[in-house]
């Protein structure tokens, strides 16, 4: 059993960071539940005089939350489906098949992971303008997909490598075709890894801001981060209680899923260089 004194010391050492991490969540929740007149009055209180649950209902209207939510869902789902469709065969080939240029492909993927969309944003912008797809959610999703392929292939690869090839070989010996063996043996074992990768891809697309800012132009096409950031920097009086309520709804469900899956993340992020 770990001893008490040491535990206490560790908690004290960690406490500044723990407080700083919890602080924005406290601010978000407190403001989201504060009645409008108290927010405007400027008399900041952690616990409002009453919980203004109506902020969440009102926010849906004033922020046009439903539209932004739908946009984010469309972008997230299209990105995820495309990325998985492209990445699963590539990852399968990397662990099961031998081919010339495998190392080169691997290296190439690592390099693409190093280039965030931000540094290429002008080129991507001109590409999208060139094909007449500025302000298109689908164009944005396809770009997201391209940037997620490397991460997805790396993550899938390390999982697929842990599925023994012998099982498929055994199915072949029993007369199954290669395709049938993949379908009945490999797919069920790979499914959880695919699901985890899909969720990370979805969250990546859900959270992205910089590229969306360059590609999406009309506010009815804004994804949630864009919408909320735009509202918070409005020219007029910012309705902070609505903005915080919207931030809360856009953040908490995704945060919970992420916290739950976070231990799987490192494999993809560091390109297999660090075992997590």
């Amino acid at each position: 059993m770990p001893d008490r004194r040491r535990s206490l010391i560790y908690w004290i050492v960690l406490s500044p960071l723990l407080l700083i991490n919890l602080f924005p969540f406290a601010v978000m929740i407190s403001t989201a539940l504060t009645p409008a007149d108290e927010v405007v009055s400027g008399d900041t209180q952690w616990i409002p005089s009453r919980f203004a649950w109506e902020n969440f209902v009102d926010m849906w209207q004033t922020v046009d939350f439903g539209t932004a939510l739908m946009n984010s869902l469309v972008v997230g789902i299209v990105t995820t489906v495309l990325t998985i469709v492209v990445s699963v065969p590539a990852a399968y080939a990397m662990v099961r098949l031998d081919f010339k240029g495998k190392t080169a492909f691997q290296t190439f993927l690592l390099i693409t992971q190093m280039f965030s969309p931000v540094v290429l944003v002008i080129g991507l912008f001109r590409l999208v303008v060139g094909i007449g797809a500025l302000d298109s959610l689908i164009a944005l999703s396809i770009l997201y997909c391209c940037f997620h392929i490397a991460f997805a292939v790396w993550m899938l690869r390390s999982y697929f490598a842990s599925i023994p090839a012998e099982l498929e070989h055994a199915a072949w010996l029993e007369g199954a075709s290669a395709f049938h063996a993949i379908r009945t043996v490999f797919v069920p074992m790979a499914a959880p890894a695919v699901a985890v990768t899909a969720i990370f891809t979805f969250i990546g697309a859900w959270n992205e801001y910089a590229l969306a800012l360059a590609i999406l132009r009309s506010s009815e096409h804004y994804t949630l981060p864009l919408k909320i950031a735009a509202l918070s920097s409005g020219r007029y009086q910012v309705e902070w209680h609505h903005v915080m309520a919207a931030t809360f709804v856009a953040t908490i469900p995704v945060a919970i899923v992420f916290m739950w899956l976070q231990r799987h993340m490192i494999t993809g992020l560091s390109g297999g260089a660090v075992k997590g």
Binding site: P2, I20, N21, A93, G123, L127, I266
Partner: protein, 286 residues
Amino acid sequence: MVPVLFILPGLILSAFIIIYPVWELIQTSLRKVTRFGKVTGLNDFANFEAVFSDTLFQEAAVRSVWWTLLVVGGTLICAAGIALILNEKFHGRAIARVIIMLPWSVSLSLLTVVWRWALNGETGYLNHLLEQLGIIDGPVVWLASGSTAFTVMILIGIIVSIPFTTTIFLGGLSSLPGDLYEAARMEGASHWHCFRTITVPMMQPYVNIAIVLNVIYVFNSFPIIWILTEGGPANSTDILVTYLYKIAFKYGKLGEASVVSLLMFVFLLAFAALYLRLVSKDPANA
């Protein structure tokens, strides 16, 4: 034929979004571009001259270096300590771990929106909290001057980079061979001695990778500065990425913005090469 078919779609897509934009950047950087994005003739490197002679560019470049150095440095120091603690068993470790990883789970842009509200001049929650704790007497207008704004940004940058870095370090610490420590302990080595002669050298590859990846991520980091101040007040918090967005999408100077992009691309290419060398040296990955 089959392997080629399997990897081809991924290869084409991910190659395309690197190669085409870079080609486009080179083209655009060498030419005159109208306000409406129409590219006309070559202009004798006028875009390069304009960028290099722009004092705002020079300031943003210097600030980018400071931003990257301070955020990455601060992150590494904090994350090393945190990982060493989280690697020990103690009461409530699981809870502490969840709270430390919290910023990682949230969209950086949304987290920054919350900070923007919390940093709000007179009545912001941060001022409220610091007054409650007796740390400050009157409200501080955090984002009104470049120096305080930039300091706050660096701190937020460190806070949000800690989870990823800590995870890399924890991965490294968990792979250290326990029997080595036991043997050293048997020989009478102290904790400190073990740390210096076993932990530090064996963690070196993980530290290297954390440095390179963090430099790449932090150098490209956009939302914190953009959402808090858009590089203001008076461009005093611009780094290269926000400068790039400003001249491209606010002022419509795509030619000059392409030059900035290309310079950043070359810098990142050098770091990507470094990363590749580090990864290929790792025996676990050969």
